[in-house]
Symmetry: C2
């Protein structure tokens, strides 16, 4: 596509999305759920066809020498397709929140004032490789009564096109506009530049991918961005604390998986329990080959652990999101220093205190300025499904609008409604 055609294509998508969004917003909950169930059926009926289209992406990826784990992320199997179908069905059965009215209260003037939950309008989604996201985003968009424009990674273009065709078929089959979910049909990089700069058509952009992509989009977008930057998450082991539990949770928080954003990168330990706790977790980390970057106090304790892989922590380590078998460890005086350290160095994603002290627990919940704050639970729980949202379109590290795991609610806004009996302002 040349520049003129691309601009036209994007504006057409935008205009069609805006028009479709009005029809989606006024569609009944039953109609939207029907489309989701129809989509589940279509996914199941088209497993082979989807795999055939997916094979083209896989071939191209292999030929291009993409690393095996990346090729793996691209793959659509009968199992992943079934998971997507089940996800659509689960969304269909979830309560519908569009049109919910909250807080309708009588005012002194006689009018009754409340707020109604309505779709936000049109969102644009920019994501990389995994074709699953096409269905996850589409189904959330349908459930929340929005329209969306999807821009997937070029590696998955054939898979995404096939999935998007099924979504449009499901929409049309359910009497809703097919343009409510549109896939950008070109892998041209400039398409993203257009998508994020059409405030007349697109209300919010949700990027999912590497930090570079998200920073670039945030910088250039002319509309709000629900963005997820780093996950530099912490566990703070307080005094008093059940150390058995602390070992279990800290281990889970770091080693259950190394790559998710909600895995921890930093461990803080109250000085008075450091001597008892650090050797125990040190043995666990040592056995699993986790490198420990320690402040001098932690080092002094951990150096007695056999085969411990210790390094001296630098100031930069406190800021680091390793996403690897590496953890920074620091001994702190207590709750005050722990909160101060987290608020200074964490990425405001997810941080947990492990404690028996009620006052400390309350202070940590209140004062730690992160999207998810936990007491006696593994930060790995910071996830839309684990939080009961039924779905997740992303995790926001911002404070504005949506914060933390973003589900259906994050794709809606509350407008004011006023019910009167002819009242006038005096």
């Amino acid at each position: 596509m040349n520049a003129v055609n691309l601009a036209e294509h994007m504006h057409t998508l935008g205009l069609q999305a805006r028009e479709a969004s009005a029809r989606m917003a006024s569609a009944s909950a039953a109609a939207r759920s029907g489309v989701l169930r129809g989509l589940a059926a279509l996914l199941r009926a088209n497993v082979q066809a989807l795999q055939a289209d997916n094979a083209k992406d896989l071939e191209r990826a292999t030929a291009a020498g993409l690393a095996a784990p990346m090729v793996d992320r691209l793959k659509l199997t009968p199992k992943t397709i079934e998971t997507l179908a089940v996800g659509c069905e689960q969304l269909a059965t979830m309560p519908d929140i569009i049109g919910d009215v909250v807080g309708l209260k009588q005012q002194p003037s006689g009018i009754r004032v409340g707020q109604m939950r309505v779709p936000i309008g049109v969102f644009g989604m920019v994501y990389e490789s995994r074709p699953n996201v096409t269905i996850e985003a589409a189904s959330l968009s349908i459930k929340s009564g929005n329209a969306c424009i999807l821009r997937g990674g070029s590696e998955a273009i054939e898979s995404n096109k096939a999935l998007a065709r099924l979504v449009q078929q499901a929409l049309a089959g359910g009497g809703l506009p097919a343009e409510a979910v549109q896939l950008v049909q070109t892998t041209d990089r400039e398409a993203v530049g257009h998508l994020i700069a059409m405030p007349e058509y697109v209300d919010v952009i949700i990027p999912r991918g590497g930090k570079g992509l998200i920073e670039r989009i945030s910088r250039d977008a002319k509309v709000p961005v629900i963005k997820h930057l780093d996950g530099n998450c912490h566990v703070y082991v307080d005094d008093p604390c059940d150390l058995e539990m602390a070992v279990r949770v800290t281990d889970n928080a770091k080693t259950q998986k190394y790559s998710p954003c909600n895995a921890i990168e930093g461990l803080l330990v109250a000085r008075s329990v450091a001597g008892a706790f650090l050797p125990r977790i040190g043995e666990v980390f040592s056995a699993k080959g986790v490198e420990m970057r320690c402040d001098p106090e932690a080092w002094e304790i951990l150096r007695h652990v056999p085969d411990a892989n210790l390094k001296e922590a630098t100031e930069q380590d406190w800021f680091e999101e390793y996403l690897a078998p590496i953890i920074s460890i620091k001994v702190v005086a207590g709750i005050d220093e722990a909160i101060a350290h987290i608020n200074r160095y964490s990425s405001h994603h997810t941080d947990a205190i492990l404690t028996r002290d009620h006052v400390h627990a309350q202070r940590f919940l209140r004062e730690v300025d992160s999207a998810s704050v936990m007491v006696n639970a593994s930060p790995r729980f910071a996830d839309g499904f684990e939080f009961g949202l039924g779905a997740e379109i992303g995790i926001s590290t911002d404070k504005f609008h949506a914060r933390g795991p973003v589900g259906i609610e994050g794709l809606t806004s509350l407008k004011w409604i006023v019910l009167g009996n002819g009242e006038v302002r005096s």
Copy 2:
């Protein structure tokens, strides 16, 4: 101030605000309310001193040949000061929402997940002339546990400095950091450029003023902006409708005051009631000297009204925010055309339907994509106080985060909290 000094001044304000915000967030509700009551007492004790400082601004304004209404807006009188004091006291007695937890629910994993309302952090406020805004913004900031940096108009600099000194005195007197409310001490225009581009220190910008100011800030800001652009509001007179009520509400919506953003600019009338309704409202408008810009059908009916000031409406009129004794009038086929017209031309601020029809009322509430949508009430009610927010920092015409009148809640965010018993993710 030269450029280097200005940059330093702004960064000092930012750094101090960020530090103060952490202390404000952890301050008790009682401490914050105490400061508000202290501020009310200080305002009352300093009426004369405030008037003396205000006199300097008034003199300068008069000498500079500022128009009388503008000079009037600048004026602090014993009455306006008392109103500000009462406002602080009312805020103090309002329920505190910081720390509220909503929706704490048990999840299948065993963890309990909910959301806690917390301050957003630091907001920057950019406003013009009226010094009252200094106290309104400061008191809302204190109530909501935020820190703020205020940048008032240069015409009111002496008044603003005097008011901000009292605010800081009240904060310090109540044991809270004086830097929780800071006034930019220079009238240098470049200061705004710095304020809106310090994401490390400022979480959101709230501009209050003319459209030019708000567009400029929205374009250049590096942080989210709660912005209020036009108020092109509508009343739609439906069929069936109590026409007595319709005349009363339409009159109020247009003529009670012409300048507020929630006064209407457009009147839509269902064809089947146009013949009965338009002559009656036409007489009212004619008597009050309101110019009517009509589509051909409305013209045909209204031309029989004696002394009616009629003009032909152009396409541009449907977009116009007159803020003057001018109204556009259009006859529509019914509810569908009314909703389509409003969604196309209104500024998504406030629109009302006057109707007896329940289905039409529900459709209007649901389908009109505006921040405030009303049934049988005057759009002039779209206001934080009338909506029961207890205060208003602005009105947002955006859908993202805060929509419509913004009170304390708009200055907060919901973070996730998780309470566990040592659960780990499997």
